[in-house]
Amino acid sequence: MSLIIDNISFSYGDRTILNRLSLEVPTGTTTAVVAPSGAGKSTLLRIIAGLFTPSSGSIILDGKNLSLVPTHLRSIGMVFQDNQLFPHLNVYDNVMFGLRMAKTEKMIAAERCRDLLNLVGLSEIAKQSVATLSGGESKRVALARSLAPSPKLLLLDEPLTGLDSELHDRLALDLQQILHATSTTALLVTHSIPEAEIISDSIHRLQTTVDIVPDGEKK
């Protein structure tokens, strides 16, 4: 399930945000794109998810061009920077959301949901309101929620921003292990090279409005 980003450009008004960007994410691996703030990292993820339309170029997942496929049919999950948990649903129902949308059979969905909550270590607080969660817990719920519908590709937008340093390091390791355990194909964008080194298998650098510069395979 490889992802190919082919010559993507994106402008907002007169401002060019991405300029002929190309990148490949091999199946079952985690690729990181490292760039400073304002370089268009989030924009790139939004284009892949189908939330923004690129001015040119194409996104190809598993050999299929996604240009005309709406977001909800792309099977691309996304962990947002500030999690975006549904405030009207508890932890369990947030994780169940994607499975409900896909009309997954109830027993199977419930089991998958329990497995994921176990995986992220939150099965104890499944019935809690998301308003009561700590930063780390919210992040884990967001991760479990986006993994639940078994997306072909998972996008991670600065997933560890805003966490204190101890939690940050622990969660980075957990994230790497979870992505590995679930053999998820993932694309991570971050401004932190150490974070990218822990979580991902390969790292690319993105400079402002310039093509991606490969940084070589990680050992």
């Binding site: 709406p70 909800h72 049919l73 009207h88 994607g98 949308m101």
Partner: protein, 523 residues
């Protein structure tokens, strides 16, 4: 010692609620107790329901209110979603267009629908339902709009990345997040339609009377005070239930959303057409009113305006329009002078006492839960003996207007008052500002939006108030809505055209007052 003094200050804020409480006591609580205990003939508790006119009024009130509420909520929800989430040309004007009608004078809006609809529909359920939609869409926009406006775009994006189609996103994310607000908008709309009085006075007719109309008819035309009171109390109980449901939700603040929070997404063609049609729905009746005010006996003529302005005399039309304008303006100013400080002070007290918040606010907001007609009737009965014979005092009407405006002042002030962070107050104190200095230099400037919205509401409510006023008005001090209703109650073309002219003047001046004073919160 310091702790003790601080405690004192906090406690003294609580007393700010007293003026509002007195106002509500005098205009609602005491009259209602008197109404419930003094005039009811026990036999009437059962026998009043045997009158066919009462049963018809009850059925019609319920039926037209359900129908009006259903359409209002349906159209309002669609409009609100687009207004709260999308940027488009003329958005500000559109928001003013759909939100201002709520404060327009009911009788004048009734006249506008007479002007726009063909004669066959003048006294029909359809006309009533349309006028109710015209009025109450504003409630949906004002209550649901801020809620939806605050939803982060990314939350909707995240639903989509989880595989939710646009329809599923609506069902599982957008609607649940707006649920409480929609629920309270539904309850408030139902209440407004059920107790509709001004609109029905103009657009109703045989078989098209609501309970409020029946109360007026029994009390004033038939002299059956006991029967009218039984109806009034029964109606109050029904409304109390609706009202309880309404006040349970906190998303009932009548504020509008901020422009800067809206997304940059553009509207597609279908919603554009919908909003355009809605804009027409809000403007055409007013244009028709203008046209109708210049047509007498099927020809263009300014007779209506001449009679209205007193330039031309007409047999049977004996009012002095200038005097009516003066009376209306005087009442509106006095009502605002009472409602505004009382309401803001009470809101202030309530926001400091969160524990008793809901109980107190339910109490002060009581006048909203009682139809103005019932208040009018109750006051008519209560204050007619020495030394409390206030009925002859002209001050009584503006005081009642203030009580009716009070809940609206408070509802619009509450979010602003609560939005002032406590730390800001503390910061001012640590910089040496005493409680009064702090209030004058920090809090009062921040309260400005609440004051202007409250002022706009109270002026508009008083200018258009018809239900309570119709019971208490005196010949020499009739307000414009009272005169409009009496003109429409007369046969002939000229009284009607004159009524159209008066309605237009009242609508335009109310809208201008609201838009000018409350400009900031309409953006």
């Amino acid at each position: 010692m310091v702790g003790h003094r601080f405690e004192m200050k906090i406690r003294s804020v609580r007393f700010f609620v007293i003026p509002a409480a007195i106002l509500v006591f005098v205009t609602a609580v005491i009259p209602l107790i008197v109404l419930a205990t003094s005039v009811i003939d026990k036999a009437d508790i059962f026998s009043v329901w045997t009158h066919s006119s009462v049963r018809r009024a009850l059925v019609f009130s319920l039926w037209q209110a359900l129908l009006s509420t259903a359409f209002t909520i349906f159209l309002g929800v669609i409009a609100t979603w687009h207004l709260s989430r999308y940027q488009f040309f003329g958005r500000r004007t559109f928001i003013a267009l759909v939100t201002v009608p709520f404060v327009l004078p009911t009788v004048a809006v009734g006249a506008a629908f007479i002007a726009v609809l063909p004669k066959a529909l003048h006294h029909s359920t359809l006309a009533i339902v349309l006028a109710h939609i015209f009025f109450n869409i504003s409630i949906v926009v004002r209550t649901v709009g801020p809620r939806w406006n605050s939803i982060d775009d990314q939350l909707i994006d995240s639903a989509r990345t989880l595989g939710a189609s646009p329809l599923q996103t609506w069902r599982h994310v957008i609607m649940p997040l707006g649920k409480n607000a929609i629920f309270s908008a539904t309850a408030l709309t139902f209440f407004m339609c059920f107790t509709s009085y001004g609109i029905i006075t103009i657009l109703g007719g045989p078989g098209l009377a609501t309970v409020d109309i029946e109360i007026y008819r029994r009390a004033v035309q038939l002299g059956d005070l006991s029967g009218a009171t039984v109806l009034a109390i029964a109606q109050m109980l029904l409304i109390a239930i609706t009202f309880l449901l309404w006040s349970r939700s906190r998303s009932t603040e009548l504020v509008l959303f901020r422009a800067q929070a809206i997304s940059h997404r553009r509207l597609s063609l279908a919603p554009k057409c919908f909003l355009l049609a809605l804009a027409a729905f809000f403007t055409v009746p007013l244009l028709a009113l203008l046209a109708a005010s210049m047509r007498t006996r099927d020809t263009w003529s300014l007779t209506g305006w001449k009679v209205f302005l007193g330039i031309q005399k007409q047999r049977g039309i004996d009012f002095n329009m200038w005097q009516a304008i003066q009376t209306s303006a005087k009442y509106a100013l006095i009502a605002s002078c009472i409602a505004l400080p009382t309401g803001i002070a009470a809101t202030y007290a309530l926001s400091h006492r969160r524990s008793s918040h809901s109980r107190l606010s339910a109490f002060v907001i009581l006048p909203l839960a009682i139809s103005p007609v019932v208040i009018g009737l109750a006051i008519l009965i209560t204050y007619d003996f020495h030394p409390f014979d206030f009925r002859s005092s002209w001050l009584l009407i503006p005081v009642i207007h203030a009580a009716i405006a009070l809940p609206f002042v408070m509802r619009s002030a509450l979010p602003v008052v609560e939005g002032i962070p406590n730390d800001l107050r503390s910061a001012a104190s640590t910089l040496g500002a005493g409680p009064w200095r702090r209030f004058l230099t920090v809090e009062l400037p921040l309260l400005k939006p609440a004051i202007s919205t409250g002022l706009a509401f109270s002026l508009a409510m008083s200018l258009g108030e018809f239900g309570a006023t119709s019971f208490l008005t005196r010949r020499e001090s009739r307000t414009i809505p009272i005169i409009i209703a009496s003109l429409f109650g007369r046969a002939g073309d000229i009284p009607r055209t004159t009524g159209m002219a008066a309605s237009l003047v009242l609508i335009v001046s109310t809208a201008m007052i609201v838009v000018t004073i409350d400009r900031k919160s309409h953006i």
